[in-house]
């Protein structure tokens, strides 16, 4: 009998054992959880599924997460895809395909939170997936939300990784995970130390997480890994509020509280023995409140002396969440070394930014450097030539859909348009005003407001886009701190190109020779057979044309509006004046100085670019006091005057 019973039990056991080897039965033991999983409890089920080591688990998890698992009315689960009320079913274990009417099935729809938990569980399978992109996705998902459980599968997957880049990434990520979740202190410290050479945002985040602290206040210094003790007298009211929050001290009374307490205790026009009408005196209010407190009507007033005494009785501290001081010390050291590297990288990044800003100023000002610097003509409409160039680019893009082609069409076209406008303006207006510079300023200003308004009438007030081609869209990323967009690099290259071209024209060509001759002495130049009118016209056209090209470049990274020229005109004049009039190198120096100065000020006060501009202008005004002729001043007879 006993033997018989034993035999039955043996059989039953075997059956259970055998049942545990297939997925359906595991699912059936947790049928409730599978059918309507919740984020907090689904973990147990997933652990069991993973622990079973069944090869069909990853596929099932994926289908489950994609809402492709259906439950038949008898409780069995299938993978299924619905099409016209017909389900194409697949058995979760055997993979046998079948079809059935969708009527007898319910679709399982795990919510977003559950799907995230499933995704985390799937990561370990995905890490070993033969498909490279799936492995990369898995790594990205670990990087987004690192967890202790991921460390072991991640470490295990490194060895078999074939892709070199992904392998490096896995090692880096494993390092980060080890720093936080490593088994032993030694392993963690080693990982933390290796992070000190990493300036990535991830590494810094992980170090900061290790160093996370919580504030506290207590009568005695607490047990635990103490980060620092705080001095409550630095901000007594804030620290007192913490005591109140921790129920260690009675709440203080704000002036409003005092007022309300007094208002509630008016007896026959008096509070205590002080008449109501005298309550506009703050000291009497406190006296009245003290009387109420003495009578026991209101809680005693927390005076500054009482507050400070309470603060002195307590210890205020920051406690690390990480209990082991060795690890926090290592993290501290690593973080300060990372921060030093980040600081250096930021300086490099700032330098790149400043260079890029300088090249924009240079581009905007170089045309002006020719018309104002070489010819001495103040052209307040210069900014509008920039605007015209940008709108030319916009119009070209309306007709040519390919952004690459349109940019290469727009650049010469913008030059042609503004060159023409410049020549017309020089012939009609400026040539009549050569000996009246102040009036040139005013007349060109008149042209500037007319051009601005005409642009507004044609193109409207809203900003028009000038889209850059795809190959200029990205950014050159050195690391998480140093990066610069390709557009800015292109503008920098363009600025250098302009510098070269203009220097070449002015120094090496016949035109440049004649321009310099006319600039220095028009009468003498004319008697040598140079036609000053023609030279002036061409020079002005050249300066305007360059403004047009600058307009296309500026339009690529800023919006094109009718007022964009006005934004640059004052800056451009300052660039030319600071650099030194009459010299292309001076404009370069001026643009560099203003660009670096502005970025430097922005760095000191990052929240406020307006302030940076303001202070930069003030600096320029002061600078001109000391070097009225600019950085690169002409000497001797060429200086004119």
């Amino acid at each position: 009998m006993l033997r018989c019973l034993f035999a039955v039990m043996m059989v039953l056991c075997t059956v259970t054992q055998a049942a545990a080897q297939d997925l359906q039965s595991i699912l059936q033991t947790h049928a409730e959880e599978v059918a309507s999983p919740s984020r907090n409890s689904v973990g147990t089920l997933l652990d069991e599924l993973v622990a079973s080591g069944l090869p069909q688990v990853p596929a099932f998890l994926e289908q489950w997460s994609d809402k492709n698992v259906w439950q038949r009315d008898d409780g069995l689960f299938f993978i299924g895809i619905e099409e016209d009320d017909v389900l194409a079913l697949r058995d979760v274990d055997s993979g046998e395909d079948s079809t059935a009417a969708a009527d007898g099935f319910t679709q399982l729809k795990p919510n977003g939170g559950v799907r995230r938990v499933i995704a985390t569980a799937m990561v370990q399978f995905q890490l070993l997936d033969p498909d490279l992109t799936r492995r990369e996705t898995a790594i990205a998902s670990i990087a987004r939300r690192p967890e202790a459980a991921q460390l072991a599968p991640l470490l295990a997957s490194i060895e078999d990784e074939t892709d070199a880049a992904l392998r490096a990434r896995k090692i880096q990520l494993a390092n980060i995970l080890t720093a936080r979740f490593g088994e032993t202190v030694e392993v963690r410290i080693a990982a933390i130390e290796s992070l000190s050479a990493d300036v990535s945002v991830e590494a810094r985040a992980v170090l900061n997480q290790i160093l996370s602290t919580r504030e506290g206040a207590d009568i005695e210094q607490p047990e635990g890994n103490l980060a620092r003790l705080l001095n409550p007298l630095e901000a007594p009211d804030t620290y007192y509020a913490k005591l109140v929050d921790a129920d260690l001290a009675p709440a203080p009374q704000s002036p409003d509280d005092i007022r309300r307490a007094l208002e509630a205790n008016i007896v026959e026009g008096r509070i205590g023995d002080i008449p109501l009408v005298q309550m506009d005196d703050p000291t009497l209010r406190i006296a009245a409140y003290a009387q109420l407190a003495d009578a026991g009507v209101v809680p005693a007033l927390i005076t500054p002396a009482l507050r400070d005494a309470a603060l002195a009785r307590h210890v205020f501290y920051d406690l690390y969440d990480e209990p082991d001081p060795q690890i926090t010390t290592a993290a501290q050291t690593a973080l300060s070394s990372v921060e030093a590297r980040v600081g250096a990288a930021q300086v490099a990044d700032l330098t790149l930014d400043a260079l890029s800003l300088a090249s924009i100023f240079f581009l905007a000002a170089i045309g002006l450097a020719i018309t104002f610097g070489v010819m001495g003509v103040i052209n307040m409409a210069h900014g509008e030539f920039i605007m015209m160039g940008a709108y030319t680019g916009y119009v070209v893009q309306l007709f040519i859909p390919s952004y690459t082609v349109s940019i290469f069409v727009a650049l010469p076209l913008a030059f042609a348009v503004t060159f023409g406008a410049g020549v017309v303006m020089e012939r009609l207006v400026i040539s009549r005003l050569y000996h009246r510079p102040l009036e040139t300023l005013l007349a060109t200003f008149g042209i500037s407001i007319a051009l601005q308004q005409i642009a507004k009438n044609i193109f409207g007030t809203q900003a028009r886009p000038l889209t850059s081609p795809d190959w200029l869209a990205g950014a050159w990323v050195v690391n998480d701190v140093i990066q610069i967009s390709y557009i800015r690099i292109a503008i920098f290259v363009l600025a250098l190109l302009f510098l070269g071209v203009i220097l070449y024209i002015l120094r090496r060509t016949r035109l440049g020779l004649e321009v310099r001759a006319v600039t220095q002495n028009p009468g003498m130049a004319a008697s040598m057979g140079i036609n000053p009118d023609r030279i002036n016209m061409l020079t002005f056209g050249l300066g305007s044309g360059i403004a047009g090209i600058a307009g296309v470049a500026i339009g690529l990274y800023a919006k094109v509006t009718s007022e964009m020229g006005a934004d640059y005109i004052v800056q451009s004049f300052m660039t030319v004046v600071v650099g030194g009039v009459g010299n292309v190198w001076g404009t370069l120096a001026g643009a560099t100085m203003i660009g670096f100065g502005q970025k430097g000020i922005e760095w000191l006060n990052p929240s406020n670019t307006l302030a940076a501009q303001t202070y930069m202008i003030l600096l320029v005004i002061l600078f001109i006091q000391f070097r009225p002729k600019g950085i690169v001043a002409l000497k001797g007879r060429a200086a004119g005057d």
């Binding site: 002036p255 007022r259 007094l262 208002e263 008016i266 109501l276 009408v277 309550m279 506009d280 005196d281 703050p282 209010r285 103040i378 207006v429 009549r432 005003l433 510079p437 102040l438 009036e439 300023l441 005013l442 007349a443 200003f445 008149g446 042209i447 500037s448 407001i449 007319a450 051009l451 601005q452 308004q453 005409i454 507004k456 009438n457 006005a566 004052v570 004049f573 300052m574 004046v577 406020n608 307006l610 302030a611 501009q613 303001t614 202008i617 003030l618 320029v620 005004i621 002061l622 001109i624 006091q625 000391f626 009225p628």
Partner: protein, 391 residues
């Protein structure tokens, strides 16, 4: 023989006569005068125009007579407006706050009043503390002093720096323009303490005059503006006549030669620059209570350039020219851009003056600079002159 000031400057008498006649006429036609042919809003426009004329003659003195093309005088005008605006806004808010606090059971303490005013004024920029520059805003006397002294001091420091290092001509123009730009950018920031781009508003409500109808208040401001313009005209006529005026004009024509003659050119320029800045401040202080609102866009560089445009169109180097230019151009601007000018239908295209007025103004300005450098005022030279009347 020394003839009298009026005899040497007949235009002063004519100008004062015309201004008085205009003031009387407008007063009679205004709503407060009884006949209501001139609406209160138009009366305000006329009053504002008089203030613009005042700042225009200041500009004319500094540019037309002294040859300094300052592109920053409208900044001084704006500072004057801000100075008086601070008092108006403080006092007005204080009245409102005191009234609302009166309903409290306890009489308010001084701290409570200040806090309430602070949060009323600076709530829009997310603050309720009084910045340092508002320290005197409770006192009309001190703020009135600030109307004159702050622009004066700024002009003095800026001018001293610029003239000392012999920055002249277009360089000075660009420098003054940079100053205006810096100032407007500064005012645009919320933490400057002047309410950022919200500016100061509600300035047309004069504290203490709640019982007086706006029509009457506007008329008073019109009178004050007319008086200020008259006084300014006399002051500047005195400045530009006589020996002082001769030196100033000589500086315009050849600065170096004047210096060689032994005059301290910088002092003269600094005097003119500072004096005109102070007058511009007064003009602004009269203008903005009539406009009702001031914000940093008012002192953008473009405003100062328009000032130069008025003077150039009116005819620089003669004070009445500046007045004519400012009045004609600013009134025409408000007429054209106000939408009351009739559109011109060309069949294929309708010219809307709100769109095309600036184009017309810009081109007119070019034409005036090219062909009529003397401006509208130059027309007076065409009048037949008495024989023997030399300039």
């Amino acid at each position: 023989m020394q003839s009298s000031f009026i005899a040497r400057n007949p235009s002063v008498l004519w100008f004062l006569l015309a201004l008085s006649a205009f003031t009387v006429l407008v007063s009679l036609l205004s709503e407060a005068g009884g006949s209501a042919l001139i609406s209160t809003s138009f009366l305000k426009t006329l009053g504002k125009t008089l203030c613009l004329c005042l700042v225009a003659i200041a500009m004319d003195v500094v540019w037309g007579y002294c040859g300094i093309l300052s592109l920053g005088h409208f900044a001084f005008f704006g500072i004057g407006g801000y100075a008086i605006g601070m008092w108006l806004m403080y006092e007005r808010t204080a009245e409102i706050v005191t009234t609302s606090l009166d309903s409290n059971i306890l009489p308010p303490t001084p701290d409570e009043i200040t806090d309430a005013i602070g949060s009323q004024i600076f709530g829009v920029v997310g603050s309720n503390d009084f910045p340092l520059i508002w320290a005197f805003s409770h006192s009309l006397t001190l703020q009135l002093l600030a109307v004159v002294l702050v622009p004066g001091l700024l002009a003095l420091v800026f001018g001293w720096l610029a003239f000392r290092s012999r920055v002249t001509g277009v360089y000075l123009s660009i420098l003054t323009q940079a100053m205006t730009l810096a100032l407007s950018l500064h005012f645009f920031q919320n933490d400057t303490g002047l309410r950022g781009n919200n500016g100061l508003s509600g300035l047309q409500n004069i504290p203490g005059l709640e019982g007086v109808p706006q029509a009457t208040v506007s008329l008073w401001f019109f009178w004050a503006s007319a008086f200020a313009l008259g006084a300014g005209y006399v002051l500047f006529s005195w400045v530009v006549s006589g020996k002082l005026g001769s030196v100033i004009r000589a500086i315009r024509d050849d600065e170096t030669r004047v210096r060689f003659l032994g005059y301290h050119v910088e002092s003269y320029k600094l005097f003119v620059f500072t004096l005109t800045a102070m007058v511009a401040g007064i003009a602004g202080a009269l203008y903005y209570p009539q406009a009702g609102i001031i914000n940093p866009a008012e002192i953008a560089p473009i405003a100062s350039i328009y000032l130069a445009v008025w003077v150039a169109i009116g005819g620089r180097g003669r004070l009445y020219g500046a007045v004519i230019g400012a009045a004609v151009v600013s009134l025409m601007s408000s007429w054209f851009t106000g939408g009351s000018a009739p559109d011109i239908n060309l069949g294929v295209y309708v010219i809307k003056w709100t769109d095309w007025w600036l184009v017309l103004l810009g081109l007119t300005f070019v034409a005036v600079t090219l062909f009529f450098p003397k401006g509208i005022g130059g027309l007076f030279d065409l009048l037949p002159r008495r024989k023997g009347d030399t300039k």
